[in-house]
């Protein structure tokens, strides 16, 4: 830990940093961040030990013949994945702190092994065999009206009680 004499820790403003970073790359319009006046809330309707958990990731699959050109080319569609298919999850074109970390450890961004442990310990009832991919979108509308309803439908079909999202 670096020696410092601050009286408090300050947060890094992701919104300010990203606006300046993208402006420096000649993106004309600053991104409009979602801002909600209120948020829905639902308490668990049964004990966690009886709940089935579904894991949601912002990582996604790319077609085998995909050739990256520009960020807007990425096929950002929600996807339903079997646990056995996760080897082909692709993160390289997503924006994350590549100078500081890596995604070689699946458990660091998709805690399936932890979920299995929690099931074994009886802390949660079950974990879905499926993983739910929710790619980040420039368009709020696509996330709210297309992608999220699709994920909710899939999770209902799979009997999932609780969604746990781990953004990458």
């Amino acid at each position: 830990m670096a020696q410092s004499r601050k009286t408090h820790r300050s947060f890094v403003s992701y919104i300010d940093k990203s606006r300046e970073f993208y402006a420096a790359q000649a993106y004309d319009q600053p991104y409009q961040w979602a801002a909600h006046d209120d948020a829905p809330f639902a308490k668990l309707s049964k004990p966690l030990s009886e709940c089935k958990i579904g894991l949601v990731t912002t990582s996604y699959f790319l077609p085998g013949d995909f050739e990256y050109r520009v960020p807007s080319d990425l096929p950002r569609v929600p996807a339903l994945a079997d646990r056995s298919e996760l080897d082909s999850l692709d993160n390289q074109y997503l924006s994350w702190a590549k100078d500081e970390t890596h995604t070689d450890d699946l458990g660091s961004f998709l805690p399936l092994a932890q979920a299995d442990r929690l099931v074994t310990e009886g802390r949660i009832g079950a974990v879905s065999d499926k993983v739910y991919c929710l790619p980040t979108q420039y368009s709020h509308r696509q996330t709210q009206r297309r992608d999220t309803p699709q994920l909710i439908e899939w999770m209902k079909d799979d009997g999932v009680d609780v969604a746990v999202m781990i953004p990458l």
């Binding site: 830990m1 670096a2 410092s4 890094v12 940093k17 990203s18 300046e20 970073f21 420096a24 790359q25 000649a26 993106y27 209120d38 948020a39 829905p40 809330f41 308490k43 668990l44 966690l48 050109r69 520009v70 807007s72 702190a97 100078d99 500081e100 458990g107 660091s108 805690p111 092994a113 932890q114 979920a115 442990r117 929690l118 802390r123 949660i124 609780v162 746990v164």
Partner: protein, 74 residues
Amino acid sequence: MQTQIADLAMDVLETAVVPRTTVQAPVQWGDDGWRERFMHVGDDNRAQLAAEGAERQRFQQEIREQDAKAKAGN
């Protein structure tokens, strides 16, 4: 660390009673260098970022022209 964070997430699920409940995990990076490096814009990379932006715009224009041509051909 993953065990600690997963357990903490389950605690939040069980104990939260209001929307937007936020809990800070008691883990930190080893040093604070990432704060400066993350999405860094400075004299050392401003020209490179601008060049990448220009390249992206050139490429997008190319794609637009290809699409327009394909449309006209149909």
